[in-house]
Each structure stands twice: as C-alpha cells, then as structure tokens.
C-alpha cells in the first residue's frame, strides 16, 4: 500500500514538473479582432495558423468577435485586455489617451515600407503605436453606359471639378437617359465629401488650434458637393428610389457617378454583374490638387501584455511584407498597407482599379482629435442639413467652426 502511494506521488510530481517545463517555453497570446466577411475571417485564421506553425513555442488564442467594439471596450475597462488586437483609425486617439496601447518604438520592423499617410494615422509625436494592416481609399466610380448614352467623354487624368459637374449636368439633362436617373449620387456623409475639402487646400483647423473649416476653400468644397443636389443634376442616395448608400444607387444604374471606396468593387461585381462601370481618380480641385480619404485599421499590442516580444513578433508577421502580400492576394476588398504589395493586389483585383492605389499618395485619414465629439456630431448634422437644402454651406461651416473654437478654448 505504501509503495503504491509513493509511486502515485512520484507520478503526480512528474506530471506536474513536465507541466511546468511545458509552461516555461509555451507563451499564450490572446488575439482579438472584429468579424467581417467569411472570406476575411478565414484569411485571418489562416494567417494566425501560419504564425503558430512558424513559432511552435507561441500559442495564439484567436477571438473573432461579431460585437468587437463593445466587447473590447469592456475588456479595456476591466484592465484584462488581449495582447494583440485590431484598432480602427477613428478609435485610435481615444485608445492612445486611455493608455492601453504599447509603444512600437524599436519593435516595428521596416516601418518605412508602410504608406506614410497610414502610419501617421496611428502615430503620436513621431512614435508609432500600431501597424496598419490594410486600407481603403475613395475614387470616382462612373457608369460607362450612361456616359455613352449621353455622349459624354469618360473622365481623364486632368478632369477638374468643373468637368465633372458638366458631365453630371449633361447626363442628367440628356434625353437618351431615363427619367429618375441622375448625374451624381452625393451621400450625406462627411467621410465622402471631406476629400474635396482637403483637395482644395483647406483643413479643419490651423496650427494655432483655431478652426479654418469655414475658409473660402472649404466653403467652395461643400458648395461644389451640394451643388449637384441643389441644382437637380445629382441626388442623395435616399432620394434615388430610397437607396441605402451611394453604392446601391450607382449599382442600380440610378446615378452616373459617385465617390466611393474600394469596398464597393466586390459589392458591384456580385450584386450588379450586368452594370458596366469603371473608376477614375477624384477630379482636380480649383487649387490644382486632388484629394481623397483613407480608412485604415491596424494591429496593436496591449500596454499590459506580459509577452511584448512575442506579441510584436506576431504583429510584424501579420503586417510585414509577407503579411501584406497575403492581404493583397486574399481577394477581399481592402488594399495592403505596404506599397511593395500594391502590384499583387492589382493583379488579384484587376489593373483597372489602380486609382485606389494612386490615391494613397495624397489621401488623408479624416480623424478629428480627441474631445471634439460634439464638433463631429454637429458636422454630420450640418452635412445632412446642407444636402437637404435646409442650411447654406457658409452657415453650416461658420456654425461648426464656432463649436470647434469653443472646444479648443475649453481645453486650453
């Protein structure tokens, strides 16, 4: 009996020891990200599996959450948040301020290889906190059938705002085009028309923190965007047989042009295979520049991660040259964050989508600084009001500029 007991004890200890030994070299990383399309989720899982294979001592627990924003916010609040997680450009300022992001200083491999406009969206005072994984830009979509029917030339490389307006006007008034079809679908969304504001050399605020959003250049941008609707040569998507967004109005052939992002490519190809369309870069503003917006997401490491080395190794794996190539060839809408993989993306999606890639050179991430939430709300409501014809562009921008300055004064 005693022998059996001793043996059993030894066995228990042996198992315990082996467990300890195993625990010493196996690091477990908690990785969270939001759920998107099935294809994109599968691609993320495959990337994680490849990383685990290459690093047998690192064990990754991947959570793809359908309600990511709420779930990760709760985990931040509790102080028990994942080692590695995705961050969008709009929540980045608040997360940085909340101190949950680890600095990437010295950890990020080859940051020069990332589009600077994307990396700067996740940087503060020269330090990057998060590595962009992919991005989208806006470009001009046009319906070639409607252009042909109205006898209007397709957009060219030196198309200006005036040319675009003239084309919309010609198509809307053309007898060869059905009634109810308009020249341009103008979504009532700051994340569409702000590109025009930046293109015209305007900005939201100056160096001194005071708003410049009601400068003549900015007013001209929203005047241009809303003039389509005001003059009846364009319309909001909701007024185009109640379309939910620009892509739907354009896909249903109700608008000859719209400004949308590369996420619309797959949507148009799948839902409207009959539609004949093409994309061009956004037209040149009266200031002689182009402008577009970029929307990007990145991989970050949690500030309280117990395994920063391993966590950054994973982030570098996901966002490095190879990771970028995987994003490029996976075949979902977003573009890889590194120019080195741009050609691979074009090969997968089609060379004709180059305007989206070219946009990366002059794109701006339309993120307002932290604490300006009331400005954002007023900005959105004003954009709606201008497109509904309830407010003039000047009134709208004067009003939001005042709100911006109020907030700035309070924070000083």
């Amino acid at each position: 009996m005693r022998k059996v007991f001793v043996l059993a004890l030894a066995l228990v200890m042996a198992i315990g020891m082996s467990g300890l030994v195993a625990a010493q070299d196996a690091v477990t990383l908690q990785v969270w990200t939001g759920s998107s399309s099935d294809a994109e989720n599968a691609a993320k899982e495959a990337q994680i599996a490849a990383f685990e294979e290459a690093n047998p001592n690192i064990d990754v627990e991947l959570l793809i959450s359908p309600d990511y924003g709420t779930q990760i916010q709760a985990s931040f609040a509790s102080g028990d948040y994942p080692d590695v997680f995705t961050v969008g450009q709009f929540e980045f300022p608040s997360l940085l301020d909340s101190g949950v992001l680890a600095s990437g200083e010295g950890y990020i491999e080859n940051p020069e290889g990332v589009y600077p406009s994307l990396l700067s969206a996740f940087s503060s005072e020269g330090t990057a906190y998060c590595v962009p994984k992919d991005f989208s830009t806006l470009a001009l979509f046009y319906n070639t059938d409607l252009f042909d029917a109205a006898g209007v030339e397709y957009p060219t490389a030196d198309w200006t705002w005036e040319d675009m307006y003239a084309a919309a006007e010609a198509i809307a008034n053309s007898d060869a085009v059905a009634d109810g079809v308009t020249g341009f679908s103008a979504g009532a969304d700051r994340n569409r028309w702000l590109g025009l504001l930046y293109a015209n050399g305007a900005d939201i605020a100056g160096e001194d923190g005071l708003s410049t959003v009601n400068s003549p250049e900015a007013v001209a941008a929203i005047e241009f965007y809303s003039s389509f609707v005001a003059n009846g040569v364009g319309a909001r998507p909701s007024d185009l047989e109640g379309s939910g967004w620009n892509g739907e109005a354009f896909g249903r052939g109700l608008a000859a042009m719209t400004i949308e992002g590369n996420w619309a490519i797959g949507y148009l190809q799948n839902d409207f295979p009959e539609l004949n369309w093409a994309v061009a870069e956004t037209p040149v503003s009266p200031s002689g520049e182009r402008g577009t917006l970029t929307f990007t997401e990145c991989w970050a490491v949690g500030a309280n991660s117990e395994h920063p080395e391993e966590a950054w190794a994973l982030v570098n794996f996901l966002t490095g040259e190879e990771g970028a190539l995987t994003v490029a060839t996976s075949g979902f809408g977003v573009m890889p964050a590194r120019p080195s993989a741009a050609q691979a993306w074009l090969d997968t999606r089609g060379q004709e989508f180059e305007p989206f890639v070219s946009g990366a050179d002059y794109a701006v991430a339309p993120v307002f600084p932290l604490g300006y939430g009331d400005f954002t709300t007023a900005f959105d409501e004003g954009t709606n009001a201008v497109l509904a014809g309830e407010q003039t562009p000047q009134e709208f921008l004067d009003e939001v500029a005042e709100i911006w300055n109020e907030i700035t004064a309070e924070n000083m």
């Binding site: 924003g69 709420t70 916010q73 931040f76 609040a77 509790s78 102080g79 948040y81 969008g88 709009f90 929540e91 300022p93 608040s94 997360l95 301020d97 909340s98 101190g99 949950v100 009532a188 969304d189 909701s238 047989e241 109640g242 379309s243 939910g244 309280n304 993120v367 307002f368 932290l370 604490g371 300006y372 939430g373 009331d374 954002t376 709300t377 007023a378 959105d380 409501e381 709606n384 309830e390 709100i403 109020e406």
Partner: protein
Amino acid sequence: MATQTAAAVDPAPIKNSNAKLQEAISGWGFMLPAFLILFVFMILPLFVAGYFSLTDWNGRRPLTNPDAFEMVGMENYQTLLLSGRRVDDFYNALKNTVYYVAGVVPAQTAIALVLAVIVNQRWLKGRGFFRTAFYFPSITSSIVVSMIFLFLFSNTGPVNGALRAIFPSYQDVSWLTDNNGLVHNFFGLFGMTARNAPAFLTDTEIFRISLWDWISGPSVAMFTIMMLAIWTTIGTMMVVYLAALQNIPSQVYEAAAVDGATQTQIFRRITLPLLRPTTFFVVTLGLIGTFQVFDQVYMLRDEQTRESTMTVAYLVYDTAFNLADPRMGLAAATALTLFAIIFVATIVQRRLVGGDRPADE
C-alpha cells in the same frame, strides 16, 4: 400563524426564540438566491452607475489604473440638462421618446383590450388559433421581428408594393429613412412648412430646440418603429387582459343582463371598471418598457435618421460606446436621468389610473 401555534404548544421562551430564528433563517434562505441576483445585477449596478455619473471616465481607461477617472461632481448632469452643447441632443432624444411613449402605450393598451374581448367570446370559432396568432409576435425575438420589418418597409418592399397596388396614385414612402415629423406633415397639408410657420414657433427656442421642432410629432421613421413596438407587445398585454376578463364572475354579467343593460353599457359600466387594476398593470409595464426602448431602434435606425429616431436609452448607448469619443460618465448620468423620468411618470400614472384601489370602491 406558525409562531403562535408553536408558542401555544410549548410556552418555554428559549424554544420560542429558537423557532423564530429558524423561521428567519429559512425565510432568508429562500429569498437569498433571488436577492443575490437582484443585488448583483440590479441594485449594485444602479449605485455604480450613480458613482460613475459623477466622474469623467471614458469607459476605456482600465479601472486598475489609479488615474482612470476624476470626480467631476454634477458636471455631467449640467452638460446634459442645462448648458452643455449636448443639451439639444438630450432634449431631442427626450422629445422623440415622449412621442414614442404617447403613441405606443395608449395604442397597445386599447388594441390589446379589444383583442382580448374578442378572443374571450364564446361564439368565436377557433379561439385557440387566434389567441396563439396574436401572442406569437411577443414570443418571437425582437431582433428577428425587426429584420422582418426592415424587409417589409424597405422602399421596394411589400408594404409600398401593396399600397401602390391599392392606390395607383400612391407615392412611395421611405418608411425607414424619412425624417419628416407626422405633425409637420399634417401642417404641410395646409401649406404650413418650416419656411412659412409663424415666427413665434420657429424663433422661440427652448433648450436649443425651436418650438416648431418640439411639435414635430414622431418622424415617419420613428412611426415605423412605433408600429413594430405596438405589434410585438399587444400579444403580451392581450394575455394579461384575457386572464383578467376570465376572472370577472359571470353572476355580475347575469345580474346586469337581468337589469336590462345593453352590451355597450355592460362593457362600459362593468367590464372596464373591473379591469381597472389590470389596466394599471398594463399601462405601467407599457410605460416602463417604452421609455427604455432600445433594441427596435438599434435594429431599424439608419445614419440618416440619427436625430429623428434617437431615444434616450439609445443616447445612453451611443454616448457610452461612441467609437471616437466614448463618455461613460455622461452616459451614466443620462441613464440615471431616464430612471428619474420613468419613476416620476409611473407615480403620475398611478395617481391617474389608481391601480392600487379595488376597481369599484
């Protein structure tokens, strides 16, 4: 009762207190699970929310950090109710919520009562079927029902299609995205719009919202959400009424019939007063439920209808989980304000309906 019996059998004082103690222990023991659940998930969060409503916590800074938040006193309430830039957000949400409550509660109570009376009739064939059919929406997940409504009321959906088939001159209504208020639309029939409304309406501002906007009525999009809410809740209310109707003794009706009362008189003078406690219950449930409306709004709203379908409960969520700038402290203050409003509304309603008094006294 039990203690008295025990005392009678054995007058020894020690025994007596023992029995009392035991009774107390078992009493508390039986209550404990329910009490714990209530305490952990209802009472404690209420106090925690009260605490956070006095802070500037953003809901993201880890609470394990010493500098996660600062106490700001009543600042959040000030921002919300009195002077901040968010004042119009809150009062706009309150306005929408009041229109919602004022539309949904009477409608669902009245329809539920009518349905209950109908399915309570002996002459009705297939009563079981109707009772099930009317109750069915209530037991279906509100998310599923919302998705069905999204399909039915979409611009190219069956509702517009049916209306077009019946009325050839019908212009499609954007049921889900139309921000125009129903009262505004009614005024519009007589040619009065925001442009030519009397100056005292458009120029008088209360809490940064013009009088003209205060009287807008629920927007068309909100009206669609209201129809959804009415449709899903009448089933539950009907079952409550049905149970109460079957509790009314038949002698009362027989006596009334002998006295020569007409059907209408019987309904008005006998059925309705005897249902008074039930009506109080139904209206109270309705008030609390509608003031807190969230899931239907969450499912059916659209960015374009942000302002016109914003309710107070949705504003709490929107403030707490805003992507760019979450403000948990302000959200907690909003939630507590909503609590106070519901509390007052229920008391006022109790005074009006008087549910605690037996019906006929």
